[in-house]
Symmetry: D2
Subunit: 345 residues, 4 copies
Amino acid sequence: MIRFACDYDEGACPQILAALNETNFEQNPGYGEDPHCEHARALIREAIGREDALVQFLVGGTQTNQTVIAAALRPFQGVIAASTGHINVHETGAIEATGHKVLALPDPEGKVRASAVDEYVKAHWADPTHEHMVQPKMVYISHPTEGGLLYSLSELEALHDVCQKHGLYLYLDGARLGYGLVSSRTDVTLPDIARLTDAFYVGGTKVGALFGEAAVLLHPDLQKDFRYMIKHQGGMLAKGRLLGIQFEQLFTDGLYTRIAQNAVDLAMQVRAALKDAGVPFLYDSFTNQQFPILPDAVVEELSDRYAFEGWGRVDETHTATRICLSWCTKRESVEAMLRDLLPLL
Amino acid sequence: MIRFACDYDEGACPQILAALNETNFEQNPGYGEDPHCEHARALIREAIGREDALVQFLVGGTQTNQTVIAAALRPFQGVIAASTGHINVHETGAIEATGHKVLALPDPEGKVRASAVDEYVKAHWADPTHEHMVQPKMVYISHPTEGGLLYSLSELEALHDVCQKHGLYLYLDGARLGYGLVSSRTDVTLPDIARLTDAFYVGGTKVGALFGEAAVLLHPDLQKDFRYMIKHQGGMLAKGRLLGIQFEQLFTDGLYTRIAQNAVDLAMQVRAALKDAGVPFLYDSFTNQQFPILPDAVVEELSDRYAFEGWGRVDETHTATRICLSWCTKRESVEAMLRDLLPLL
Amino acid sequence: MIRFACDYDEGACPQILAALNETNFEQNPGYGEDPHCEHARALIREAIGREDALVQFLVGGTQTNQTVIAAALRPFQGVIAASTGHINVHETGAIEATGHKVLALPDPEGKVRASAVDEYVKAHWADPTHEHMVQPKMVYISHPTEGGLLYSLSELEALHDVCQKHGLYLYLDGARLGYGLVSSRTDVTLPDIARLTDAFYVGGTKVGALFGEAAVLLHPDLQKDFRYMIKHQGGMLAKGRLLGIQFEQLFTDGLYTRIAQNAVDLAMQVRAALKDAGVPFLYDSFTNQQFPILPDAVVEELSDRYAFEGWGRVDETHTATRICLSWCTKRESVEAMLRDLLPLL
Amino acid sequence: MIRFACDYDEGACPQILAALNETNFEQNPGYGEDPHCEHARALIREAIGREDALVQFLVGGTQTNQTVIAAALRPFQGVIAASTGHINVHETGAIEATGHKVLALPDPEGKVRASAVDEYVKAHWADPTHEHMVQPKMVYISHPTEGGLLYSLSELEALHDVCQKHGLYLYLDGARLGYGLVSSRTDVTLPDIARLTDAFYVGGTKVGALFGEAAVLLHPDLQKDFRYMIKHQGGMLAKGRLLGIQFEQLFTDGLYTRIAQNAVDLAMQVRAALKDAGVPFLYDSFTNQQFPILPDAVVEELSDRYAFEGWGRVDETHTATRICLSWCTKRESVEAMLRDLLPLL
């Protein structure tokens, strides 16, 4: 069985394991106050071009989202997201657990549009009963989105501008950020993100780490006492060094983007092969996740050899299927899968 | 510099690192639904002698405490703990974050006494205004306590009985459980704990794992939908296998207690040497943490070579000092430290 | 200026004021444990035909909703509501304040449909990642809805059945219940509601009381310790007698429905007059709220004499307008308004 | 049966009832945006001498406390209070419901001491693990305290200073504020309180209103969007006018302090009579609550004619008993009670 179900089916890239082995018996203070974390923070600040950024490491994406969002909002404030946004659908109410409503905006592509934000926020303040509604104060986007799409630089700038206009924080969930940065179709760099958002995170879990996300807090309001917030949410890792050591590796010699490139290259191969075969796609993704709409019979036929994730029925006989390529997917696996899949179409 | 500041200054025991290396490129489903987690669960159920236990792995202790407690309580209910209990002091309000009050009972040794619970709960229900007070519904104990002390079997049985009597859940925080199980002065076994509590956790972070705690839910009320609760709290690890792999190792060939024994043996050596030198202790601990009351000048004198943790001033010139021995502390380190310390007393 | 903006523009019906005056210097225990509350509870239990109901009085609707919902749900559970439901739109996140997500289902009429609930809940449990999504556990409906519509008995029975089928609680927000009970188009009685829901509330604030809602808890799970829950949410009124005295009056000699009838009769007069004039309506309401779609110029023209509430733009020149008739609206006021309005159409 | 159990056993003072009657059919916008509320706010701002104060009305004390405190604190921050403080004991965890820990300081008189605050906060920041503990950010005091005691002006100034020094908000719970302002032993005025605190509330429920508290927000941080906060907590009264009308009366012609004087005068009469009879007191109160320590047999003997509230056993045969005199207690009632009580001592 070869799994294409997600990008966290394996452990970590070998450089990370090697570093964990080498440093294992070093003695370090806990909770992220060790030299590895300090070094990793410096590497990330350098990579994003913001010396004033506060970088803190957390274990997982849901935890990072709930911690950043709860750090930013007052109790009656909410966060705008796409209806399909991870925080609105797949976090078992982790944002609501901190008391905040997710203000979901529908969008055919699962993006948050600057114009939709503008309209929503203007309508809020124009409503004479606005005190009876959750006050919008933050915009959450994922880049790539849950469907593998990317914001263009101009889209990101427009979101930045509309947030500035209305006094909203802009927060970018970078669970799969690496796979976005290396896409052939992106014009957005890490420094762009650091310039245009108030907070974002660099995802490690899905891009070659055992676990770990690097939260980057840019707005001073969000920086203040953020470590209290992590602990309050139960998210402070005792052996914080583990996070530092992993991000040290990921941000040394371009490892983070190098391993992301493998996934995206293979994704483009899958995409091309299926497009050639006339397969329609749910989202037009140029990142590591591909969403071909496949006949159920085909998926069923392959199910003993390949694991995909269903992404919703499209009609009686077809299902949008997620094929996830990762930092460590092997070219042979992809070729074997295509060899078995294509003849069935 | 040799650190005795805590028992999570290093990485993990070599068997764990080896297993992570060996399994690294296995493909597994995420979120703890992989064969390693299943196997580790079976090993733990066997070790505790309860086939009906639900075992779920979490990343850290605060997270485990807040998840178990919030899973058990209705909104207006609280958890009884010693004033010095970890949840009352050192979790930045992580329990309150879930809406629950910690009902703190003072105790000179930092234990929760069955008689004090009985008195508190009877007083609650006898008060005609009891609906105006937080309803006690759970008792939290740590074993060993924050001060390294152990509940005797009869104390544990008394707590069990008083909880049964009043319809309270009994929950045991086993962050350092291994160090308690191997103490020469304990008569409490893992099966005793599984028999007498409604939930407990087997601490990995402080006993040789990179991270990870095994929550053991015994009462059916606490088992139901517990995985939703983990996700809701932001605590579900994507690569859950990492937890399974570590606990597989810890519960194979007695590794968990074997490495704990190292810490406790060295702790007894420290204890004996300091007792011989006439040093008083804050707590009479037979586990891996020792709390000698040392002259400030001595601690200061050693501070460039040995890291201890201050545990509160005792008088103008003395401080209770925590000396923590761990699963990987070396005998040479202890001997060097004693060699340097004893002449100063 | 005559206000038709809402149904709580005035004080209370004279019987209530008289009773408050008469009982003013009685001495009573606080917090709803007085004879007036006991009597009012008995009257309500009788009116609904359920001797096993627990009746508790709260001050307002949002408070009642958040208290009942938070009493019913475990932390990771959510409540299904129409997208336009009061808890989803107009309570400033009061449900999220208790940690729970509102699971909003869109519906053109703003009703929750049994079939939509069935589909949603089946999809939840069928999804292999359901633990990553908020677990649906309650259905919230308002009757009349925010748009003045009523559930038919068969719709209510279908909701009851689908809730039973899936183990959901059914909760009915009766902020304007009186106006629904007396509608000429309803086949739903108070005993029907008490038979088919797990909890509901009889709204006082909008139907002639100074303030106050009577929460009726039918399911034993919701009854247990509900008064703790009220206090925990900050909703326990010190002089609880004030609620008892008011509901004693409302449930004596049919006062509650008698005053509601006045509103609905006048609403039907407004409805008929505007229908005759060819005015379209946003909702086809047979209760006290009417939502004619009026030319902006007309509303503007009348705005110095009559207060209405805007209910959303329909097109460039028209606005859905809420005309609210209440327990104390005078026939003269309605006639004057129609006299001024009709010629402008 | 004559009740001295609390100061909210009756309805409201006649001026309030009269005003409610007179204004009953006025039409007003809801939610506290009516002319009565505006007028009452102006009267209060004038009485406290702070034109920049934001005055908002809430229904009850617990609701006010939880709303003000939750408005002020970030998630990981807590509020310092006396162990016996109302928020720590008698609000069923309403503060914890908003996610915040009450940091309880023991004190023999149930006061918060500036020196104790200073020590606590300094210790917090001096602790190298302070990020693992709830961050103190507010001080809560009640004036009079739960035991009827009053802060002197110098005590209040010292609290103000220590709060300024450490960046804490100072919040005063004035549930019984009227009874404090008229005490013969106070040197604290309403303008003093408005000058020295960041927020306080003027209690109506216990001082002659049907219900209602006037929250006074002085610090700009607490003013911002406070009405959202009220609604989010479920505390926004639909017919807000009811609060405005009541406070208009209370702050017209000195009604508030005049009715409070009645209670305190009678309390002094009780106090003198029992002191003369050699009865010891739990607290040395010069406000409307008296806490004589009475033989159980005496209390029992009187229990069919007079209701007191037990305030805790003192020894095997004696109980501290609360005798509460209110704005409407009659002199005859007090004299009858003393006539029956004194011979039994």
